[in-house]
C-alpha cells in the first residue's frame, strides 16, 4: 500500500501497463516532456521513450483515428484528450469508428482503445475546460464508459480499461486529481461493478466521479439529523450496475441521483427510468435528480450555482423523504 494522489495513481497505472504489455502506447497532446497539463503522464516519456509515449499534433480526430489504425495493427493505444471540451473534434472517430468497428467486422477487428478524459468543473476554469460529456458516450453502443472517484479505483480502473478488449472512455474527475488515498496495486474488482461506499437505510444516493465525495459529505451531514443515506459510486456508466442500485433501492425505497452533467437526457434520467422499471413497487417517492442545469457550463464565478453541492443533495433527500424542501409548493 502506498499513499498516492488520484493523478499519480493513474500515472502509476499507465506505467504498469507500459511495463507489462509492449503493445501499449500512449498518445496525446503535451503528454511527453511536459507530462500532460495535469502531469498524469509525468516521467513516462523519459522512461519509455517517444515511440511509446507520443506527443501528437493538435488534432483530436487525428489522434483517435490513428489509434484506430494502430489497434488494427494489434496495438493497445491509450489516448489522452487534454480537456473534456476538446473531445468533440474526435467525436466522429469515436462514435462512428471506434464504437462500431468490432460490430461492423463481426468481431474480426478489436478496438482495445482507452480514451482518457479529464472532466468536470470546480476548478475555476474558462469555457470548454469544465464539461461533463459522458452521456454522449453512454448513449453510444459499443463503448464502455467508466469514471473513478478515489486513487485506488483510479489505479485499478485505468489498468482494467487498458487491458479490456473493448474501447473504454475513462473519465478522470479533474478537481479530485489531488485527492490522496492508499493504493494497493493488486486490488481488483469486476469492471462493471458499482461500489456501495457507505451503507444506509433511509435513501440511496447514486453518484460517480467528482460527486462521490460530495455525496459522502451529504451522508455525514444527514446522519447528524438522524437520516441514514446509502451512497453508491457507479464507477461504470456504461453499462450501469443496475443490480447494485436496485438492491439498495429495494431496501431504502428512495433514490437520489447526482451528476455534474446537464440533466436532460443524462445518466440520472436513465437511472430513474430503469430503477422505476425494476422496482416501482418498492419506491416510496419519485427518484430525484440533482444535476447541473440545462445551460452551457457557466463562467467560473457562477459555477458554484451550476454544480450540485452538499446542500442541493440534502434538499433532494428531503424531497424523497417527504420532508419540506425547496420545491415544496413549487408548481409549473
Amino acid at each position: 500500500m502506498t499513499e498516492l494522489t488520484l493523478s499519480k495513481a493513474i500515472g502509476t497505472g499507465l506505467r504498469r501497463a507500459l511495463e507489462q504489455d509492449d503493445k501499449v502506447v500512449l498518445m496525446g497532446e503535451d503528454i511527453g516532456a511536459l507530462g500532460g497539463v495535469f502531469r498524469v503522464t509525468d516521467g513516462l516519456q523519459r522512461d519509455f521513450g517517444p515511440d511509446r509515449v507520443m506527443d501528437m499534433p493538435l488534432a483530436e480526430a487525428g489522434i483517435i483515428g490513428l489509434a484506430v489504425g494502430l489497434a488494427f495493427k494489434g496495438y493497445r493505444p491509450v489516448c489522452e484528450i487534454q480537456f473534456d471540451g476538446f473531445i468533440y473534434p474526435g467525436f466522429d472517430q469515436i462514435v462512428a469508428q471506434v464504437a462500431k468497428l468490432h460490430y461492423r467486422t463481426a468481431g474480426a477487428v478489436r478496438m482495445p482503445l482507452t480514451i482518457r478524459v479529464p472532466y468536470g468543473g470546480g476548478i475555476g476554469a474558462v469555457e470548454h475546460h469544465s464539461e461533463s460529456p459522458e452521456a454522449y458516450f453512454t448513449h453510444t453502443s459499443g463503448l464502455r464508459v467508466v469514471t473513478c472517484s478515489t486513487p485506488q479505483d483510479a489505479h485499478t480502473m485505468i489498468r482494467q480499461a487498458i487491458a479490456c478488449d473493448d474501447p473504454v472512455l475513462f473519465f478522470e474527475p479533474k478537481r479530485r486529481y489531488w485527492t490522496k488515498g492508499e493504493v494497493d496495486e493488486d486490488f481488483a474488482f469486476p469492471m462493471e461493478q458499482a461500489r456501495v461506499v457507505v451503507t444506509g437505510t433511509d435513501a440511496t444516493v447514486v453518484a460517480y466521479g467528482p460527486l462521490v465525495a460530495t455525496a459522502l459529505d451529504a451522508a455525514t451531514a444527514a446522519s447528524d439529523e438522524g437520516i441514514s443515506l446509502e451512497v453508491i459510486d457507479l464507477r461504470s456508466l456504461s453499462p450501469v450496475d443496475f443490480d447494485t442500485v436496485e438492491a439498495s433501492v429495494r431496501k431504502t425505497g428512495r433514490l437520489v441521483i447526482t451528476h455534474e452533467a446537464q440533466q436532460f437526457g443524462g445518466l440520472g434520467a436513465e437511472l430513474a427510468a430503469s430503477i422505476t422499471d425494476r422496482c416501482f413497487l418498492h419506491l416510496e417517492a419519485p427518484p430525484a435528480r440533482v444535476t447541473g442545469f440545462d445551460v452551457p457550463y457557466p463562467a467560473a464565478r457562477l459555477e458554484e450555482h451550476f454544480l450540485p453541492d452538499l446542500d442541493r443533495i440534502l434538499d433532494a433527500v428531503d424531497r424523497v423523504l417527504g420532508r419540506t424542501n425547496s420545491l415544496t409548493g413549487w408548481s409549473s
Partner: protein, 378 residues
C-alpha cells in the same frame, strides 16, 4: 519536400508539372507514351502481363454491371458503381503485396476483387445481410468506411504500427475528390508527414462528389495540396492502368525505404451515378461525359494489345467467357446469402461480456419465444 528531391525520383515532379500535365504511359488511343521516370517501374509488365491486367479490368466491369442489375431487380438495396474507375483501382491494387493493408471507401470493389475478397462477400452490405463483408485480416483490406475520409487516419495509424513493428509493409488509403475537403484527410496528411508514416494516399479524382463537381472542393489541382503538408505528390492518368501501376509502385518504394507518405491523384471520371439511387441527368453535362467516354480505361488497353497482336479474337472471347462466369457466380452467391438470425443483432457489439446487452438479448429472446411459428402471439 517535393521540391528538394531530385527530379530523377518519381513523385518529385509534381511541383514542376504544368496545369494539365500528368503521368501517362498509354494514351486514350492505346499508344504507348515513353516516360524516362516511370517506364522503369513497369519494365516487367510484358504484353502478356498487360493482358492479365486487361482481364481484371473486363471482369471488374462485368461484376459492376451485374451488381447494378441485381439492384435493379430488387436483390440489392443499393450499389455504388465504379464504371470508369477500373484502371485506377486495378492498376494500384495489383501492385500491392499481401502484407500491405488497404483502407478504402465504398466504391473500391475492384480493389477488393484484386485483394482476393470472395465474390458474395462484396455484396453482404448492399444486400443488407451483414454490417460488412469480410474479415479484414484475411485479405489485408479493411471493410469500407462510409464516413467520407475517416479511413485515411486509420491507414496512417496502421502505417505507424508497421514502423513500430519494424516491417516494410505499407498502408494504402483510397478516397475521392470529395474527401479532400474533410478534416480527417487533412489531419491524416499532417500526421503522416510528421511521423514519416509509410502510407500511400490514393485519391481517385472522379470529378464528382454525388452532384458536386471537384471545382467546389478545390480551386486548384488536388495534387498541389500535399506538397504543402510536406508530402510528395504524383498526378497520374487514372484511366491508364500502366501509369497508375507505375505511380503506385514509386509511392510504395518510397514508403518501404523509409521515405514516408506519398499522395497520388488518379484523374478519372465516374461514368455512372453516385449510387443506384442517384440521378446524374440532373447535374452531369452529357458532353463532358462523352469526352470522358473517349478516354475509357478498357478501350485503350484493348487497342494497344490488339496492335501488339496479343489480344486475338480467341483471347478476347475467353476473357469475356471468364467474366461472364464470374458474373454468374457473383449472382448465384448473392442469391444464396443467408438471412441473419434475429438474435445476431446483439452479436459482437462488445468483445467482452456486457451485462446491458446480455439483458436486452435475453428479454428479446423471450419476446420472440412468445410467437407461434405462424407469427401470431401464442
Amino acid at each position: 519536400m517535393s521540391t528538394t528531391v531530385s527530379e530523377k525520383v518519381p513523385g518529385s515532379r509534381a511541383a514542376a508539372l504544368g496545369p494539365t500535365d500528368m503521368v501517362q504511359l498509354l494514351d486514350p488511343a492505346g499508344v504507348r507514351v515513353a516516360d524516362d521516370l516511370y517506364d522503369p517501374l513497369v519494365a516487367d509488365v510484358t504484353p502478356d502481363v498487360l493482358a492479365k491486367l486487361y482481364e481484371d479490368l473486363v471482369i471488374v466491369r462485368r461484376i459492376d454491371v451485374e451488381a447494378t442489375a441485381l439492384q435493379r431487380q430488387g436483390e440489392l438495396g443499393l450499389w455504388p458503381p465504379l464504371l470508369g474507375q477500373e484502371a485506377a483501382q486495378v492498376g494500384s491494387a495489383r501492385t500491392l503485396r499481401p502484407d500491405d493493408f488497404v483502407f478504402t471507401s465504398y466504391r473500391e470493389n475492384a480493389v477488393a476483387y484484386c485483394r482476393g475478397v470472395e465474390l458474395p462477400d462484396l455484396l453482404r452490405v448492399w444486400r443488407g445481410t451483414a454490417a460488412s463483408g469480410w474479415n479484414p485480416y484475411s485479405v489485408g483490406m479493411a471493410t469500407p468506411a462510409i464516413i467520407i475520409g475517416a479511413q485515411t487516419l486509420h491507414a496512417t495509424g496502421y502505417a505507424l504500427g508497421c514502423m513500430k513493428d519494424g516491417v516494410d509493409s505499407v498502408a494504402v488509403a483510397y478516397f475521392g475528390d470529395g474527401a479532400m475537403s474533410q478534416g480527417d484527410v487533412n489531419e491524416a496528411m499532417v500526421f503522416a508527414a510528421s511521423f514519416a508514416a509509410p502510407v500511400v494516399f490514393f485519391c481517385q479524382n472522379n470529378q464528382w462528389a454525388i452532384s458536386e463537381p471537384v471545382s467546389l472542393q478545390a480551386k486548384g489541382r488536388l495534387a498541389d495540396r500535399p506538397p504543402g503538408f510536406g508530402i510528395p505528390s504524383i498526378r497520374v492518368d487514372g484511366n491508364d492502368v500502366l501509369a497508375v501501376m507505375a505511380a503506385t509502385r514509386s509511392a510504395l518504394d518510397r514508403a518501404r525505404a523509409g521515405g514516408g507518405p506519398t499522395f497520388i491523384e488518379a484523374v478519372t471520371y465516374r461514368m455512372g451515378p453516385h449510387t443506384t439511387s442517384d440521378d446524374p441527368s440532373r447535374y452531369v453535362d452529357p458532353l463532358q461525359r462523352e469526352e470522358w467516354a473517349a478516354k475509357d480505361p478498357l478501350a485503350r488497353v484493348e487497342a494497344h494489345l490488339r496492335a501488339q497482336g496479343v489480344l486475338t479474337h480467341a483471347l478476347a472471347a475467353s476473357i469475356q467467357a471468364a467474366a461472364d462466369d464470374v458474373a454468374a457466380r457473383f449472382r448465384a452467391g448473392c442469391l444464396a446469402l443467408e438471412e441473419p438470425a434475429p438474435l445476431s443483432v446483439f452479436d459482437n457489439v462488445y468483445a467482452t461480456p456486457h451485462s446491458g446487452i446480455a439483458r436486452q438479448r435475453s428479454q428479446y429472446a423471450a419476446y420472440l419465444e412468445g410467437f407461434a411459428p405462424d407469427g401470431f402471439k401464442k
